[in-house]
Amino acid sequence: MVDDDARLMLAFRDGDRRAFESLFSRYTPRVLTFLTRMVRDRARAEELTQDVFVRVYNAAERYEASARFSTWIFGIAHNLALNDLARAHRRYERADGMLEELGAADPAASAEDKLDAVRMQTRLERALAALPERQRAALLLRSEQGLSYEEIAEALSATVSSVKSLIHRAREALLADLGEEASR
């Protein structure tokens, strides 16, 4: 069965540019958020997000809806992130400022709640950033992007049982890292 987003991509393949624009506005924040947490560099994540959409654009002619669109686009994003991380292990020194940006609190909350939320989010971002890349990708695709285990397996070119294991180990590491704070 073809999902709505795949249907938009098929419409774009057949010449409907607005269909691509819909996909672009729907997926840009999601892909950017995923890539920023993967590569830990906001500017680089924006460049990679552009790369993802250029690839989607150029692949239109040969596109076939053999998988969910989200699975396909996050598969492209994941591959680009891994390639980028493999090329440059230079993220860590620049990460702290970005972690604060990622952990920006809800502006409507009280000052105390805001501070707690920022602390918790910053710690969580740090713990996420310390995970091995594939664990981080699997966990983000599940908890942030809402992909099923089967879809994650397809996006990461892995089996469902290895996705279960990646997510389990990632969560175990996060809970160990966050300790008491997560269970309060």
Binding site: L32, A60, L175
Partner: protein
């Protein structure tokens, strides 16, 4: 199964990835176990914290930069969605040119009549051949290689 071994099932339970029979069995265990409900609660809080992480919006000029990049790539000869056809055409013409060139060189350096003096051991036999090989149009082989690598770079959907 120990409570520690059930931990993976607790995550699958929260993620809605357990089958009905496994879910019923786990819920029965949770009703009597003194340990697992606490673990489940910690996992639930972690899911909540992960779900509450803020998303990001692209910078203001992101879309304009994207379309400018697409336009640039399409203007470049043989690149982009619209350039695919012309790229294939150039590739085909390049292949024909390369084959013709190989034939010309083969004929020129092939066996000569015995009556002619034997040239020195060299691939290119005379000055005309040098001129031919120095012709900038012969870069077609490099162009073909480049175009093939572009085609190889494209992502396969699905």
């Amino acid at each position: 199964m120990t409570c520690d071994e059930r931990r993976a099932d607790l995550i699958l339970y929260l993620d809605g990835e357990l089958g009905p029979a496994e879910r019923t069995e786990l819920e029965a265990h949770l009703a009597t176990c003194p340990v697992c409900p606490g673990i489940l609660e910690a996992e639930r809080r972690l899911s909540g914290a992960l779900g509450a992480l803020p998303g990001l919006e692209p910078s203001g000029d992101f879309e304009a930069r994207f379309w400018a990049r697409v336009a640039r790539e399409q203007e470049a000869p043989g690149r982009g969605f619209a350039g695919l056809f012309s790229r294939r055409l150039v590739l085909a013409l390049g292949g024909v040119s390369a084959a013709a060139l190989a034939l010309v060189i083969a004929l020129r350096v092939g066996p000569r009549p015995r009556s002619e003096p034997e040239p020195d051991l060299q691939i290119v036999a005379n000055s005309e051949d040098y001129e031919l090989l120095e012709d900038p149009d012969l870069d077609v082989i490099a162009v073909v290689d480049l175009l093939e690598s572009w085609d190889g770079d494209q992502d396969q959907p699905g």
